[in-house]
Structure formats: C-alpha cells, structure tokens
Amino acid sequence: MKHAVDQYPLLYQLFLKIQQYDRRLGHLALGLKEFYVLVQALDQGLGMSDEQHFKKLVRWLWQKPHHDPQVFQSIMDSSLALIYEKSAERKEELEEKDDSQIGKGPKDTLSELDRDKTEQKGRTSSEEDLTSDTQTVPKAALEEDSLIISFEKASPDKDKAALQFDIAQLSEEINKEPYLLKGNYFELGSRQLQQGVRTMRRREVDKSKKLIDLEATIQKVSRQGFLECLEYRYGEKWTTDLTILIDQGDSMIAFEPFSEELISVVQKDKEIKGTVYFFKGTPYDEVFEDRLQRKGISIDQLSEAPAQSILVVSDAGAATGRIDEARVEDTVDFLAGIRKHRVAWLNPMPRERWRKTSAEYIALYTSMFFLDQTELVNVVKLFKAKMKSSTLLDKYVQEMY
C-alpha cells in the first residue's frame, strides 16, 4: 500500500483547494472527517483503478450540490497538473543528487501512480497487506484529529519525507488569482446572506390548515369527564415579508456586487417572498422597481402596505465623509413615513467611517448595522422581536405630525 502514502500530499492539496472553494461560496468547508473517509476508501482500493475512478471518488465524497461541477473539475485538474509538474521537478533534483537512492526509495507521488494503479487492479487489499513493506496509516492514526501529523507519522522513510511537497508554497501558487470585484469578497457571502434572510422568517397563523388541538381537547375532557368532540386549532406557516430598499447612488457603486447577491437571494429563493426597490441617495417621493427607475411606487403606498420588515441597504452618506443636513432631514422624514414597519438599515461602510457624516445622524433615528455576519444576526433579531422604532424618531414624529 506504498502508493497510498505517496498520495496523501495530493489529496491534501485537493482538500485544501476544495475547502477554500467552499469558504469562497460562503459554505461550511469540508472537515477532516471527510478527508479520512476518502483515505479510508482509498485504503480499500476504491477509486484506484485509474485516474477517472479516483476523480469520481473525490466527487462522490467531496463535491456537494452547491459546487459548480465545472469549477470542481478544474480544481481537481489544476491541482493534479501542478503536482505532476512539481513531482517531476523534485524527482529530477533528487536524481541529480543521488541516482541510486531514488532507485531504492519510495515512488514519486504521481509519476509512478499510474503504474501502481494498473498493478493495483485486481489485487485484493489482503494481498497488498502481505506484499507491502510499509504500512500506510495505522488504523489508530485515522482516529486522530491532526491529519498532517498522522501523515508524517505514517512515513517512516526519510527519502519519502524529502519527496513531500512544500504545501504552503504550493497553496500560495494555486491561489494566485487576478483581482475581480465579486460579491463574495464582502464580509457577508451569499450563503450567509441566504441563511440570514431565511432566518428572518416568522410563524404566522395559516387558516387553510386545521389541526387537532391536543391540549385543548384534553382540557375539555378533564372538565367534562368524557370525550365529546375534538378541539381544533389553525395550523402555522412560515412567512418572510421582506422589502429591500437598495441605494444605487454613486457612493454605492463599489457595493453593487453585494446588492446583486442580495437581490438574487431574495428573488430566487422560493422560501423567501421578498420585494426589491431602488432609490438614489435618499428615497424622496417614490422608490423604483428596477435599477433604471422606470416604474415606481410612492412612499405613501409603501407606508400604507401591511406591516412588514424593511431592510434598507445604503451607506447613508458615510462615503462622502461629511454631514449633509438636507440628506439627514429627508431620510428622517422617510423613516417617519414608514415607521409602522420594522426597519433595519444595513450600511456597507465600516462603523468608524460613519463618524462625523450623515450616517452618524441617520443612525440615531433608525437601527443601523454594518454589513457583516455578527451584525446581520442583530438585523434578524430586530425583525423577529418586532422592536420599536427609536425614541428619537418617535419624538420627531410627535413634533412634526
């Protein structure tokens, strides 16, 4: 089973890459347990007949529905290609140093893998155990948490250790990517957004469903002393009445990929029934259904709509670095108009940038949060707890109306 030991660096490379891919998508990354499952499968000879089988095995165990199959495939291909290359370079170096040692030493990571695979075909694992002179990973090592340590422990041959790749260096090379402004560079990935928005849902009475009310039935029986008839209650359903107002002013251009992610989460997910409106800088009389501002609804219509959760995504003037009194006044007016709804403000600018800008003042009249995971939790809490509007806003309303 010598070949399996040699394969661990390759597997680990792939594993790291797929972990990164998961994180980039905002998903929970693969865990070490998943790595061990693959090692376990390889130990039994699964996926070893040829490269295609090996790739299939990796896909079955590490690919998940949220992965793009083509991206996943290219991660596998690029990792394999790079390691083939590195492996060949290293082999050449070692051959120059000492030809005889290489002859006696263990096989290079992948250069001899294909040959191994052919030999492996048709051989049972028990046969391998008898013929192999080194044990891959002891069963106990499979239980350990630190996988990398167990690799090292499992490679008794010093020459083999020399053939191990510099994983850090390799990862660095793999990760060299050109810069692109993408939604997933923000503190909140699409997955976190999706989960955050979904948790904004709340239970509501569903009059189309009638269920037996067990507690009421039992209470009635104990009161009357006999079971006369069943008591019923209405069922419940989850609802997410969410309206998102997106600022598409000039200062928000940098955050457009984020707002696009948010729109796609709200509009594509069948579980969320959300509406998106756009405005520029401050919503005056109306907000618009599309970015081109072709069709709009008035703020009055919005304020008269049934009570719902409204999420405003805007820098509230923080990017300009100054206080714009008219902007603050207009915004507070707008907030007063929609005060019957639960309103939260998501500001993509860091909190320290709010200071001495319009945002600092607007934040006094509404619940403003920075765009990250921790603060999104607070938005959810606010929407679910039906929190009251700020006292300053109440005071303002009393004075004005």
Partner: protein, 363 residues
Amino acid sequence: MAKKDLFYTGEYLSVPQSISRKIKDSVDQTERTEKEEIAPYLPDPDLIDAVNLAIFLERPLLLMGEPGCGKTRVAEAVAAEFYHEQPDFRAYLHEWHIKSTTKAREGIYEYDAIRRLGEAQVAGHTGNTASLKINKFIEYGPLAKAYSHEETDMRPVLLIDEIDKADLDFPNDLLRELDKGIFYIPELKKTIRSKVKPIVIITSNQEKPLPDAFLRRCVYHYIDPLSPDLLKRILRHIFYKKEQVEQIDKTEMLKNAMDEAFLKKAVDQFNEIREEVKSKERILGKNVSTSELIDWFRILLHYRQELEGKQHILEKDTKEAKAELGESYRLLKQIYDFEKGLDNIPFLQVLFKDFKTMTNFKK
C-alpha cells in the same frame, strides 16, 4: 468492496422480476404471501459505484438529478437485488416519502393520544384497563423500523424520498439519528439503539438547498441524463421479452431488425428533443427525462401494434383512409409518418405533459 458481502451489481433488476412479499389483511390481520411484479431498473455504472461506495462507507447516499431520472427507484432496486430470496423483500425496504409538513419525529414514531383518550373513556365504563397500554398507541415510523432490524448481516434499505420538500431544518433534525442510530421515545421512556446500519438512500429535487452539516455526511451523486445506449437497453428490457433480445459481440439488440430500428428511432428522436429543450431551457423549463421516454415509448408501441396490417390503408387517399379507419386515423397516421421518417413527432403531450411547454416547443 462492500462490507458484509453486500455488493450491488444492478444486474438483478435488469429484467422484470416477480418477487415474494407478504400482505397483511386489513380486516382479520392475517398474512398471505403473493408475488409482486417489479419493472426492470437499469442503473448506469457510475450510479452502481456510488451505491457501493455508500454501502461500504456506511454513509447516506444523496441522489439528485432531473425529475424522472429514476432516483426514487434506486432503493427498491437495491433491496430487490439483496433480498429477493427472502419471504418478503419489502420487509427490508423502508420508504419515507417526505411532504412539506413532514416532521423528523414522524420518521421515528407517532403517538395517537386522541385514540388513547377515547379508549380510556371506554375503559372507564368496562374497567378493562389492559387495552390502554401505551405501546398500542405508538406507531413506529420508517426510520425507526429501518434501524430496529436485528439481523446484523442483512442491512435494510431506507429511502428518504424528496427530502427537499420538508422544512429547511428537517435534514438537520435527522443528523443524530442517521449518524448514531439512537432514538428516544419519551412516552415509552425507551431508547432504541440500532444493531445494524441501514443503507440510506436520500433523494432531492433541489427545490431547496440542503444544510451544509447534512451534506457533509452524505455521499453525493448527481444522476446525469442517461446515454442513448443505456436508454435503448432500458426500453428493450421493459418492453420486450428476454427471448426477443440477442447479444452480438457485446452489443445488445432486438432480434427483429424492424423493432430495433423503431426503438433506435424513438431514442434518437427523444435525444433530439432533449437537446432542443436544453437549448431553450429558459422558455421551455423542465427537460424530458427517462420516465417520460418510457411513457412515450409505451404509447408509440401500442399504436404501432394497432397499425400492424393497416399500413396499406394509410397509403391510400386521405379521405378514403379516414373513412376506413374512422376515429383511429389521426393516431395511426402519426405513427405511420413517424416510422416513415416524415417530420413528425407523435404524442408530444406524453413527453411534455403540459400544453404550454408543448406549444412553445412546437414554435
């Protein structure tokens, strides 16, 4: 490859099978054995490997793929192959069909408190409290049944069908049960610990994304659209008898060349439709899949048999042929034109199942 000698080959159900199963009479509760006809199921080699990997690793197999690609039938095919020699193969197959209202606890047990309340009232008059034992009112669900098997060398098959229909939290509610096989029933103050890990097959239509923690525990396989060769093989095995199929140099064909040509024509046409729908996915929506092909071929075959000996009538003048064939003229003409290679796809409604898609496709 698989532990305990369980290795799925996909061969057993490659032909129709008649397998024993036990049926319980709902009135007098007596059991009788009868034969159940099971239609062939031909998985592609990748699916076979994925099933064996899940069996070997004792991890749930999560299957996704277009609706109608045969996800749900995998569990039955696996159970039939492993347990067809048992007096009741369905005793080793536990199916849990998920609905939007399904709760994780229903997979374990349901307690009928109302019935017990009713019986308690009767017992109050008769004094017979023996009938009130709580076990009588507990109905085990498919999950608990699958995990309660005693024979450690015979792993039952548990199907959790369309898991994505349930609430978002549903898959996470199953994690402990699927991992450890331990269930607690508070009404009985009893903990069930499984002696055997079932082969768990989960299907999803990707209506909702599944939680990461759940996905991590699964072997995931996407059933790709089947190759034309496998589609032809499936049709041969479903619609023709074993004696009608022959093997020439590893190639399977129908002995009757005309039948083989007809079958090939149908599959080619089906693949053309698939390609076209794929290119117009936004307008047309869901693509046609294996189950639609099977339905479509069934109807094609039916009218082809009806057409037998009547071709000469259709070669006549339309008016004359109509008068002679009456109502069936239109249907037979479709098959006749199809076989002749004229630009005509008969019974599109069977493939598309809704008028709007069909009309858009024709456009």
